[in-house]
Symmetry: C2
Subunit: 403 residues, 2 copies
């Protein structure tokens, strides 16, 4: 398995495009189409927020499917909380693409991200979809443009493409994602599109995506807020010619799962690293928990704590806040048995402060990637989550998001 | 019932003092003693964080009590996560006060707030307790000094004193509190000391404090983090001479509860208003919930959301974030029946955007007090919580708290 230069339009059968149709005030690209030349097997995971955008609700109704021909995603407008017209607008988005590609609207998935509560400008969307559909291209570059068009406050594109053998064939699996605020587990947490030319069973793909999302996208927190538009969809063209993958019990099933997790891990880490205002990627680890649920509660609480995250921004080795967040996480453990590490530096043993080298702690916290580890001493379960620090820029970005 | 100029040393029998003993690097007052000339009935509510400071654990073991003679609280150091010596240090703090006041150490309550993981400088504490105990005074001014000595990042003192009739007698009830970070419900959320000269039954006082804390201190969130040192203690000297209050079913019990809630509400609102970096007090209201739990979940999620709080700082009427936070709160409701108001201005009806006057919204959000209301349309239950906005200064304060 190796990472290659590629994008969602690299796997066989896929083409993509990203264009600017005027939904973003600043003129940046804001509409992406990812199309498949053949009916693709597709599955998705979705936000668990009660409030759901209309474009997303439409995609939820259509998946899983074995006949998806395209995904249309706009940025700059969430198509959410706009009343009955939201559903009609999502359907129109799909129809524009279906007309251009010569397929049924029900074979087109839709996604929207951006400001909530403003109606979509359908004339702009129509022009954008037509332009993108008319200029779809295979190869890495077109997918890179599609990625640019789904970004909102993201500063850098988030893409990963893997080449790996599957049932004797060379297979490509690629993903793109957008962050970078309203990121928190249990709701899929962003928009991601994964494409592959592997031949996979639809139910296997759905289960694989759920399993992997739980270990990757659902282990990523920027701010504890979850959006109404979060979804990850995976499309498989089957054109690699491998024998259809149908079970994670078989070797090819495990290989596919591993590749999918590798791509989604890379995207998740990039989402955290590029969190709004972030200056560093933080991996929060919990070991020695009595149950998997306890391990999850601890990493969730620490990764969400504004006090931990501002201390990391300030590169201040204020480890008491880390232990404190674990203490209110709801996990069962004895604080008097808990150890805390910043990177490889132990700062707390058995619940009590250790003398430590402040200069060394400062050096560790000034890195672009910081690991924070709690060992609870309560059992054998572990978990980890990716997050970022909390900076002035988070406040600046979110104090005037609509303007 | 009327608010009077007073402090915790105003009710009959109480004296107080606040001194600087060198625990705070900046030389500000950092040690407070509140003493009672007679054995006071006392009760407390405490953090539910698994990690608990040693001074707090000691007080938890002693309450409820009918023989409390003093409360000693230091700021600048949390006396938490320092191993076995933490318990001994808390006991020594109490002993210094007991020696000076001529009572048993078990009649002295202790509290500490500040940095976690550093051992207390006992020599400074001893000098501070002796100085404070030697200069205890009744009347408003001494209590004001005690309040100054328990403040950490607080910018303004938080005190309230009420005069009200109880069983034919004039009674005083006063409170002081410190915030202003690590503030979140279900853990008492700060340090508060309430004194009264009413004669009350210990069990009634404990139940009354729990009931009122749930409606006040536990409805206050600054940052979603909860400290290891949070506690509210109430001391009643009984010197007003009223017939002992023993039940909230009787008129005098209701009057006492009302006075206690009035004082704790004032303190809670001041804690939120003076939250770290706050520029405004925000009251989050939920109406029309199917259950009390749902109403609580909604106000908790909205009051905790960094995206809502940064938008309020930016005075940006981004109401979609408010509805979004309610959507992931865990409360059961139909977003399509939900209304949202900023102050008196409705911005969302039945889950969809309403055209609204942006200038009017800006004017409402630029006030020093802002109310945010969600009407779920799911039932008849309501709740409310106090919080503040999230500003650059929160990040600045918490990026370098230890230095």
């Amino acid at each position: 398995m190796r990472i290659v230069d590629g994008s969602v339009s690299s796997p066989r059968g896929f083409r993509a495009q990203g264009v600017a149709c005027g939904l973003k005030k600043n003129g940046n690209p804001d509409l992406a189409v990812v199309a498949c030349d053949v009916p693709a097997v597709a599955a998705g995971v979705f936000t668990r927020n009660l409030v759901k955008g209309h474009s997303l609700q439409r995609t939820m109704r259509l998946l899983p499917s074995a006949s998806v021909r395209a995904v249309v995603v706009n940025s700059g407008n969430a198509n959410a909380c706009v009343g009955a017209r939201g559903d009609a607008d999502a359907e129109a988005m799909a129809r524009f693409a279906a007309d251009a590609l010569g397929c049924a609207p029900s074979d087109v998935l839709t996604g929207s991200t951006g400001v909530i509560g403003l109606p979509l400008d359908l004339a702009k969307v129509e022009a954008g979809v037509r332009e993108a559909a008319a200029t779809l291209a295979a190869g890495a570059e077109a997918g890179h443009r599609a990625e640019r068009a789904i970004m909102t406050t993201d500063l850098v594109p988030k893409e990963c493409c893997l080449s790996f053998p599957l049932g004797g064939k060379d297979v490509l699996l690629a993903g793109m994602a957008k962050g970078s605020g309203m990121i928190h587990p249990d709701m899929a947490t962003m928009i991601a599109v994964v494409t592959t030319d592997a031949d996979v069973d639809p139910v296997f793909l759905r289960d694989a995506l759920r399993t992997v999302a739980d270990r990757t996208f659902n282990r990523t927190s920027v701010d504890g807020d979850t959006s109404v538009c979060d979804m990850a969809v995976a499309l498989a063209s089957g054109l690699a010619g491998n024998e259809r993958v149908a079970s994670s019990d078989a070797a090819d099933g495990r290989a596919f799962l591993h590749a999918l997790e590798t791509v989604c891990t890379a995207l998740s880490r990039e989402i955290a690293r590029d969190g709004e205002g972030a200056t560093k990627l933080v991996e929060v680890r919990c070991e020695g928990a009595a149950t998997p649920e306890d391990a999850y509660k601890v990493v969730l609480a620490v990764a969400r704590s504004p006090l931990v995250k501002t201390a990391l921004f300030g590169e201040d080795a204020n480890w008491g806040r880390i232990l404190t967040a674990a203490g209110y996480s709801g996990a069962a453990f004895d604080p008097a048995r808990c150890d805390v590490y910043l990177g490889g530096l132990q700062v707390c043993a058995a619940g009590a402060a250790l003398p430590f080298d402040e200069a060394e702690a400062k050096r560790i916290l000034s890195e672009k990637e910081v690991a924070v580890t709690l060992r609870l001493g309560a059992g054998g379960h572990a978990d980890r989550m990716w997050t970022c620090d909390f900076s002035y820029d988070y406040v600046r970005i979110n104090g005037s998001y609509r303007s």
